[in-house]
């Protein structure tokens, strides 16, 4: 086995899965009912994800591969495992909410997006990073517009595609400037090239381009405008993927690019680098996300604004990764992903049952489906950062890491303090959701029970249990990341 195929065995398994899903659907399952085709496609997709998971684990931390284009380290493995788990949960949810047509295409594209995420987690080269990012992004655009019965879905896809395309242009421009400045496309080579010149105007332009592009991709303010519309319009499972696995992969790539790659340009004595820019974007996201979420009446838009706020906290983790390592950031990203997949999973089930989209429509959920209400309780409290759930540990780790940058009176410290305080604001809107679901009584015409499809129930319970376990035993996951 050559090093390259060894390194990318997981990705290969997913691509094989894509072909298998499509092939099976075109041949054997051609005349089956839509529901049966969904079941078949999800089963095949899940099998592919499981095979990929074992392959990724068996590859382990093997070191650089393919002439330094990939880096197979503990961080990469942990991130890939996280991505596969999140994608697997999304698949389970997709199987349970089979309302869309063309199940095989949906599952195949979901697997393709996951392939892109996996490459993002180990890429060590501008070209590969860009390819992986675009593979993932293009797949996500399609998934966002997959529900052809609803105009909102088309609108979401178009907005996502236009802004995403624009950000891809920014990214490519920034990357080409980096290449021009350093003559290298590998992160290590770029780091070497940047060690000499300091911050030139051209480098500043390149950095801004890259940060703007990533800002779009991870939905950081002020580049967040697409997020609420996409989260609202896209099929819930697609939104879950955008908010979870895509974020984990994006932040893995970003932290690898910024710290080992562009670490020299972070900030020097007397000369500003990219660190202050990230700090500004983080502050804007925290503020805008949390305040924006206060005003939302639609559950999915609320989750979108909460995602923007969490992006702000994650960017704080990016800043701190230089001194504290990437573990706090990626623990946060992975556990946030779990909670979001879960929350969107609940949305998906409710969607299938015709409940929603407003928060107040959740009224009486505790009677109509105790399982959904209980799971939502765990997911929302984890998003709010309440112990003993994993969201609390993530928050704690990231804020502690941020304070290591220079105490509470440094800019990062003030930002962390603001983030801590805004989490009290966040609790207000999170409790609003839980109040509707657990406290309010259902209007008398809506007291029927909501049936939860089996595979969705499995996915939701798994996500909730994982959030509790990772909160009680955070060292398990943290050990993987560091």
């Amino acid at each position: 086995m050559t090093p390259l195929t060894h390194a990318l065995a997981g990705e290969a398994a997913l691509v094989a899965g894509v072909l298998a899903v499509l092939g099976f659907d075109l041949t054997r399952a051609r005349h089956w009912s839509n529901g049966a085709r969904w079941r078949a496609a999800t089963a095949l997709g899940l099998a592919a994800v499981l095979v990929a998971l074992t392959l990724v684990l068996s590859v382990g931390a093997a070191g650089p591969a393919a002439a330094g284009s990939f880096l197979l380290d503990g961080l990469g493995t942990a991130s890939r495992v996280g991505i596969l788990v999140l994608a697997g949960l999304a698949l389970l949810l997709a199987g349970g909410t089979a309302r869309l047509r063309h199940p095989a295409e949906f599952v195949a594209i979901l697997l393709l997006a996951t392939t892109g995420f996996l490459v993002m987690a180990v890429a060590q080269q501008l070209l590969l990073a860009f390819l992986a990012l675009e593979l993932a992004s293009l797949s996500l655009y399609v998934l966002a517009g997959f529900d052809r019965t609803r105009p909102e879905s088309a609108e979401a896809a178009l907005k996502y595609f236009l802004l995403g395309g624009l950000s891809a242009a920014f990214l490519l421009f920034g990357f080409s400037l980096l290449y021009g400045l350093t003559g290298a496309i590998g992160f290590a080579g770029i780091a070497e090239g940047l060690a000499r010149p300091g911050l030139t105007p051209l480098l500043a332009v390149a950095l801004v381009m890259v940060l703007v592009a990533f800002g779009f991709k991870v939905a950081a303010a002020p580049f967040h405008l697409w997020a609420p519309d996409v989260y609202q319009g896209a099929p819930p499972v697609a939104a879950a993927l955008v908010a979870s696995a895509s974020k984990l992969a994006g932040f893995t790539l970003l932290v690898r690019l910024l710290w080992p790659g562009l670490g020299a340009a972070a900030a020097g004595p007397g000369l500003p680098g990219w660190l202050p820019v990230v700090a500004l974007i983080s502050a804007a996201s925290l503020l805008l996300g949390n305040l924006g979420a206060l005003a939302q009446a639609n559950l999915r838009r609320l989750l979108a604004y909460s995602a923007i706020a969490h992006t702000g906290a994650l960017l704080l983790g990016v800043m701190a990764a230089g001194v504290a390592g990437p573990a706090p950031l990626l623990y946060y990203a992975a556990t946030y992903g779990l909670a979001t997949v879960g929350a969107f999973g609940v949305v998906a089930v409710l969607d299938g049952a015709g409940v929603g989209p407003r928060i107040e429509d959740l009224a009486g959920l505790h009677r109509r489906s105790p399982l959904l209400a209980g799971c939502l309780f765990v997911f929302v409290l984890s998003l709010a950062g309440i112990p003993p759930l994993a969201g609390f540990v993530g928050k704690f780790l990231v804020f502690a890491a941020a304070l290591r940058l220079g105490g509470l009176h440094s800019p990062a410290g003030i930002l962390a303090f603001a983030a801590i305080f805004l989490s009290a604001v966040a609790l207000y809107y999170y409790l609003g959701v839980l109040k509707a679901a657990l406290v309010s009584a259902a209007p008398s015409d809506r007291e029927t029970r909501i049936s939860v499809p089996g595979s969705s129930a499995v996915a939701l319970v798994m996500a909730a249990v994982l959030l509790v376990l990772l909160g009680l035993f955070p060292s398990v996951l943290l050990g993987l990341f560091s």
Partner: protein
């Protein structure tokens, strides 16, 4: 001794069992809750009987938890925490007894109730700031649902206000603790290690850290002017929740001040001491004065809680062994007395008369119709006024004597607060139970009220017996508390040696 951590596990397990049992029958959920609360109380009492008072914390469990932060799951106990653990056990048991009539979603009610209790036990047992904080936040969320779902007047507003105040307070605590942790090298959250590191911090940082941590905790203890969540929250809460809120949860804040803020940042404390003392004194008098003019029975008790918690904070601000031991005793005493007061108001009176307006109650001649409630309330009122023979007396007396040594002016004004407390308590006893105002013309004939149940009697007698016992023999608790204050951690902040 080593069974004490089980109070936490028993409570959380009980919470899950109550949830499951509740889906079958309400009676089963009640039974589970009572068994859980009594078991935990028994565990604390057994541990207390084996307790040997000594300076410093006695470790119960200590094992690594989050390696990358240096967090240890470290539980320990000293006389102060033991006092409050016993209080928690008694308050929880009484709370279950006074919730016997919860009919709606009984299982969920007791699950949240026991989860709250589990968090409280955890806070009192923690010897690691991270563990402390985890349990502290666990105790916040159930409060929201208890009040918002099973509460009364303005419950959703009261619940949200209560939780946001608590959470904003805990955000301040988190910021201060993280700052101290990182400044101390980021190796350990053990209280001893943090205190040892904090000695080397620049003065200005100590001032900042102390302000954040103390203020964060003091919000929950009802420090004036951040106390406004307390009356609205207590009034909105269902009876058992107000008993726990006033009885135990407010103590979490005061305990945090004593256990974490003071020993960790003595320099910061020295700077802020006058401000804390004055705010405490202001709270005692102000809340007492407000209680004097309320026309809602429960609001009177709500404000009286703020006033009595002012004594706790004053005792801490005075910072000598006499005053601080009085403050801890006052935490215990107020936990019992406030529990009883809220039980009488919320369960015995309101659930039967469906009014808390003093103007209505005075026409009802409740002393004849609910003699047991009237008797309990008189006892609780006398205890609350600080009459000798009840636990409030040794507590407030020790606080006033101790405060006198630090600042006679504070002691004098606080003594005025005792008078105000006597005034509003006597007024409310007179108006609510012994009112003789004639009923409004045309008002319906007085219907017989449901008799006091056995559960209510048991709960009230438990609380009365405790306050009398400690009133007659305060040394039972002081013999635990005072040696604990001799530990080196406290000695850096406390002046005055043994009383």
């Amino acid at each position: 001794m080593n069974a004490l951590p089980c109070t936490i596990y028993v409570s959380f397990t009980g919470a899950l069992l109550a949830l499951v049992a509740g889906s079958r029958s309400a009676a089963l959920a009640r039974a589970v809750a009572l068994v859980t609360a009594v078991t935990a109380l028994a565990l604390t009492l057994v541990a207390a009987s084996h307790f040997v008072p000594a300076p410093g914390l006695q470790t119960l469990v200590d094992r690594p938890w989050v390696d990358s932060l240096g967090v240890h799951y470290h539980l320990a106990v000293d006389g102060i925490s033991l006092t409050l653990l016993v209080l928690t056990g008694i308050a929880a048991t009484a709370g279950v007894l006074f919730s016997w009539n919860v009919q709606e979603r009984t299982g969920e009610f007791f699950a949240l109730f026991l989860a709250l209790i589990g968090g409280v036990y955890g806070v009192f047992l923690s010897a690691d700031a991270f563990v402390f904080f985890v349990f502290y936040e666990i105790a916040i969320v159930p409060k929201y649902f208890l009040v918002a779902r099973w509460g009364s007047t303005n419950r959703e507003y009261g619940a949200m206000k209560l939780v946001l105040y608590s959470f904003a307070g805990s955000a301040l605590v988190l910021a201060g603790l993280l700052w101290a942790y990182v400044a101390g090298g980021g190796q350990s959250f053990a209280l001893g290690d943090l205190a040892a590191a904090a000695v080397h911090f620049p003065r200005i940082e100590q001032l900042g850290m102390f302000a954040l941590v103390f203020l964060g905790f003091a919000v929950l203890a009802g420090l004036f002017p951040f106390h406004t969540w307390a009356p609205t929250g207590h009034v909105a809460a269902p009876t058992a929740a107000s008993m726990l809120l006033a009885g135990v949860v407010m103590k979490l804040g005061a305990y945090g001040c004593l256990r974490i803020a003071l020993p960790l940042f003595p320099v910061g404390f020295a700077f802020w001491q006058p401000a804390i003392g004055w705010l405490a004194v202001a709270g005692i008098v102000y809340a007492g004065a407000i209680a004097l003019v309320q026309d809602d029975f429960k609001f009177v008790i709500g404000y009286s809680s703020v006033s009595h918690m002012g004594f706790v904070l004053l005792g801490l601000a005075a910072a000598n062994v006499r005053a601080v031991s009085g403050a801890v005793l006052q935490m215990f005493s107020h936990g019992i007395i406030a529990g009883l007061l809220f039980a009488v108001v919320g369960r015995m009176v309101y659930d039967r008369t469906h009014t808390r307006k003093l103007a209505d109650l005075r026409t009802m001649a409740l002393y004849r119709r609910l003699p047991f409630a009237a008797g309990s309330f008189v006892v609780a009122g006398l205890a609350s006024m600080g009459l000798p023979g009840f636990s409030g007396f040794p507590a407030e007396f020790a606080i006033l004597i101790g405060t006198w040594k630090t600042s006679p002016l504070w002691a004098a004004i606080a003594a005025l607060g005792v008078l105000v407390a006597a005034a509003f308590t006597l007024r409310v006893i007179q108006v609510s139970f012994f009112g003789t105002a004639p009923a409004k013309p045309g008002a319906p004939e007085l219907a017989p009220l449901p008799p006091i149940t056995r559960a209510e009697r048991a709960g009230a007698l438990l609380l009365i017996a405790t306050t009398v016992l400690i009133g007659l023999k305060p040394d039972l608790l002081l013999n635990w508390i005072i040696p604990s204050l001799q530990s080196p951690l406290f000695q850096t902040v406390l002046k005055g040696g043994t009383p």
